[in-house]
Symmetry: C2
Subunit: 341 residues, 2 copies
């Protein structure tokens, strides 16, 4: 049912019906009422495509995320949706499954759909041709979680967060700390966190700071188990994200290690589920919903002002270290021989 039928039913022109919906105060009260009744009767819904085509604005923001299977991004999307609604935008989310070619495809699809702007989480802002295209074409966009001086970004300082965590763990008495990460290549976030790990380890004078890289899909985290079986196994694991941390805890339990008594495990992300676990997951919590919301607000503001967000608009949001219950001082190991004199 189109605007024309409503017009006929209400005995007015289509222009007036259009006004009734978009500028109600420019329509006589009586006319307005008649139109609304007619629209109601006919269950009229203004056709979005026609409106978008005509106005060249869709009131839609595109969203590009790696996956919704990781609660981090689901939580972020929730924040995006909330803020978008508040700002009068609908959203159109697409996932890439961490695949570069799908990032490009997603951006193209969104551009073809005529979105007014995009929020995206990419693997690596540096090499992204999709981003370059956006920048070139003057399309408003904001990166979430990513950090790159050449783009407008919203996220936390993951490097500092991890560095400080390592120093804290050392102060707790941990002498062997390992970082567990997915394939580092896959994301600049992981790289950043690893840099923080190295920095923290160096600063704390930590001798043993290893990296355990866990292939993404591998269900049995063999690499983790191997590391934990070693005689000189780490006393603390710093994980690149919460999902990995949860997996580490399970691996530890499988090996008969107690968390945190025998092994400290700390994640990164602060997914809501972490607080429901026992032991409650220790983590560097990001304000996921806020990261999404803030990205949208940045974007909306720029669009309203008629320009694109620049890298100068980047925002670093505060993170919060939550010790949870999976993080503690290492138990003093029973020494095999007497202490040195």
């Amino acid at each position: 049912v189109s605007i024309e039928q409503v017009a006929r039913q209400a005995g007015v022109s289509v222009a007036t019906v259009s006004r009734a919906f978009n500028l109600p105060d420019k329509v006589a009260a009586g006319t307005l009422a008649r139109i609304m009744v007619a629209a109601e009767q006919l269950a009229y819904l203004p056709n979005t495509s026609a409106r978008t085509l005509r106005t060249q604005r869709s009131e839609v923001l595109g969203v590009v995320l790696p996956t919704l299977l990781n609660p981090v991004f689901a939580e972020c999307l929730d924040g995006i949706a909330q803020a978008a609604t508040a700002a009068g935008y609908a959203i159109l989310p697409l996932t890439t499954d961490y695949r570069l070619e799908r990032e490009q495809a997603a951006v193209d699809k969104l551009l073809a759909a005529g979105v007014d702007g995009l929020v995206l989480v990419v693997s690596n802002p540096g090499g992204s041709t999709a981003l370059h295209k956006l920048a070139t074409q003057q399309v408003p966009y904001v990166l979430a979680y990513n950090r790159d001086p050449r783009h407008p970004c919203v996220g936390v300082d993951g490097e500092r967060a991890v560095a400080e965590l390592v120093e804290y763990l050392v102060s707790l008495g941990h002498g062997r700390i390992a970082m567990v990460a997915g394939e580092l290549q896959a994301s600049d976030r992981a790289q950043q966190r690893y840099r923080g790990f190295q920095r923290g380890a160096a600063r704390a004078g930590l001798a043993q700071a290893a990296l355990i890289e866990v292939p993404f899909v591998e269900p049995e985290a063999a690499a983790i188990a191997t590391a934990l079986r070693s005689r000189s196994r780490p006393t603390a694991l710093v994980c690149s994200n919460d999902l990995l941390a949860i997996r580490c805890i399970r691996a530890a339990h499988g090996l008969g290690l107690r968390v945190p008594q025998d092994l400290t495990v700390v994640g990164f992300d602060g997914i809501a589920l972490g607080r429901e676990l026992s032991p409650m997951l220790g983590t560097i919590a990001q304000p996921n919903a806020s990261i999404g919301a803030c990205s949208v607000e940045l974007l909306a503001r720029a669009i309203a002002a008629g320009d694109v967000p620049g890298s100068a608009a980047s925002v670093t949001l505060p993170h919060e270290f939550r010790p949870g219950e999976s993080c503690a001082a290492p138990a003093p190991r029973p020494s095999k021989r007497k202490e040195k004199p």
Copy 2:
């Protein structure tokens, strides 16, 4: 950049450019090549709104879900996205946060966007005015997870699943079993599972089968803790979903109860995360991605055939009980007095 500029650049008419993209074999090879080059140079992307407006088909399926914060629906959406892509559709997901008015709003928004069909998870198919509207207007739609003889539905037989679970638990020796559910009103799924609980309890001749209703938002599951502190506390908890089950396990641990030695906990949903926990979550696993995928396929088939899916097309997918590690026979309680002669 529009089709016209491409046409000009390639020295052909807009019609030919259109054909080049939609019916490439009806265009001379040389012309096609020239057009593609021009399109590439100009970074041309066919305008979706214009195409939708003209063809009256969007190649988009609307998706209405309660929330993406519960991994069940995230997993389902993933399946939907996959199947949709395979069938040549894009998807437009909207969440309702379990609020009825938002179900209606979501449906309206999707209809206005001109989606070709919808997959939805509603609170209660019976009273849904949104559904009624869809049915009346002959819009193709499929319900996921919901079950109702008057609508096309894709899901598992939750009632039977829970009934069988209860009988199994009784056979294991459990004498006091409670069901933990969110507000039953909020969803027909929960109601169904509760019916299964009652049926199973009755059939197994179970004397003590209580319902513990947990307010949705409540972070501290006080109701659960109270029930578990009781002298005649249940030996097994059947939870309406996995998130609740996880919360129950934490509550149990907080009370010094071991799972499964002191308390069996079983969830419902089969979220991927459940397998990463320790104890691995016992659950009635639904094939979440398949539920989504199957819904899409049903829908796509009907649309292709030019009609709407009827309730006769409903599909019941198999569920699978996974004992995990949170489900076991109850430990024999130390008896206070000697056994009877």
